[in-house]
Symmetry: C2
Subunit: 222 residues, 2 copies
DNA sequence: AAAAATATTTTGACATATCAAAACTAAAAT
DNA sequence: ATTTTAGTTTTGATATGTCAAAATATTTTT
């Protein structure tokens, strides 16, 4: 019954792929799962089959995999631990938001319920982590905000960065340097389809131009 | 090269058995190692052989096992992480000294060098953990205090509890209730060989009688 | 509709970690 | 000096997690 950290990683990867998809009921293709976990596709197929045996996922050969109720709850608990740990490392331990992801990747499997509750309490039952990712509550329920990204939001309007959908340390440091962390006020001043770029004005009247790939990872609210 | 948590647990168990022995060069018998780790003797034999292959231990069939230089250093690092985490959980997270051992048992394998250094710094480079166990420095060097226990210390003399050689939560709670935590002042008022007991007077003029088995686990200085 | 390309599953192998039970060694007792 | 006992090692299995490469299935292109 005690889910291994490998199984926890599979659960988390399936959960996140499901969340990212438009259709929340869609199956996650095995190839996607395998590459998210850094294993060959055959390995993912084998693991998913044993997870079917544990009642954690539903699996359709040649189509993909989806979490069951039980699997979804466990996945949410892993994500809850990951995100609370990240916020803890930033707020209490004074670590950089760019580097906490790797640490949390390990600690999410090692922190007990007792400790995670202490952390939650110490941080004041926070709703989001340092990257703006929502923290599931102890029942696994996640507040669903519908944020726009820098490609879909209105131009020349006051915005606040709310979430970053990319854990790459260099990218996070880049955002920090250009005052684009969650909570900071910005404005999209131009979008150029042919140049594949978006130009942003930060609160400190700093101007940056980034590619659309990166722009799609920055979520904002008005 | 990245030592698994299983190997880390073997290293730690061998290290602690070596430390507890009078002769620090003595071999640790396989039976002792196996029972410390909760595995059958055959399992320990197999694991120890693979650890010989990694240069972590020296092994004499039918005699026992001993750490190499490399093994001793790694073991000290595991212990360093374990003890810093325990102190952190007590001092910063406000957990009870009786319950932190289980959490540390998992976290010792998951905290990064970066994080452990932050913890060390935040705690002010402490020398001992909540149970009085010495914390190895980053080079693996341990300050060796020669404390007496309640069976070998002088009677009717002012003492201070310095260390508890038993992580059992119930025992630790018992000590706490009777004001016998590390740092607290006590006095041995009587030792009765035939009754197998030791009577103690705490700073709050509280009196308790405990068995010699328990008394041998309480270290003090004068 | 057939061929080509892409994705997935299966097969056989391997590494790690474990146990049960048989075989063996060493130490203690008679 | 045997015998008994206690401790240790070996052998044969099992569970988990992984890969390489072959076999299949599905989708796309022609
Ligand atoms: Mn993260
Ligand atoms: Mn995050
Ligand atoms: Mn401990
Ligand atoms: Mn301790």
């Amino acid at each position: 019954m005690a889910t291994s950290s490998t199984v926890e990683n599979y659960l988390k990867a399936i959960y996140q792929a499901q969340s990212a998809a438009e259709d929340k009921q869609a199956l996650v293709p095995m190839g996607h799962l395998a590459s998210a976990l850094g294993v060959v596709p055959g390995t993912a197929t084998t693991m998913v089959k044993t997870m079917v045996g544990s009642g954690l996922v539903a699996y359709e050969p040649y189509s993909g995999v989806r979490l069951t109720e039980a699997g979804e709850h466990l996945a949410a608990m892993v994500l809850r631990r990951h995100r609370l740990v990240e916020l803890f490392l930033v707020q209490i331990m004074g670590m950089s938001w760019a580097e906490v992801h790797e640490d949390a990747e390990q600690l999410e499997h090692a922190v007990s319920d007792r400790l995670i509750d202490r952390i939650d309490q110490l941080l004041g039952r926070p709703a989001v982590d340092p990257h703006g990712d929502p923290i599931p509550d102890p029942e696994g329920i996640v507040a669903q905000h519908l944020h726009k990204n820098l490609l879909t939001c209105p131009v020349d309007t006051d915005l606040v960065v709310t979430r970053v959908l990319n854990q790459d340390a260099d990218f996070l440091r880049f955002l920090e340097q250009h005052e684009l962390k969650p909570g900071q006020a910005i404005k999209v001043i131009a979008r150029d389809a042919s140049a594949d770029s978006v130009s942003i004005l930060s609160s400190g009247n700093h101007q940056v131009t980034i590619g659309t790939r990166a722009a799609s990872k920055l979520l904002v609210e008005i």
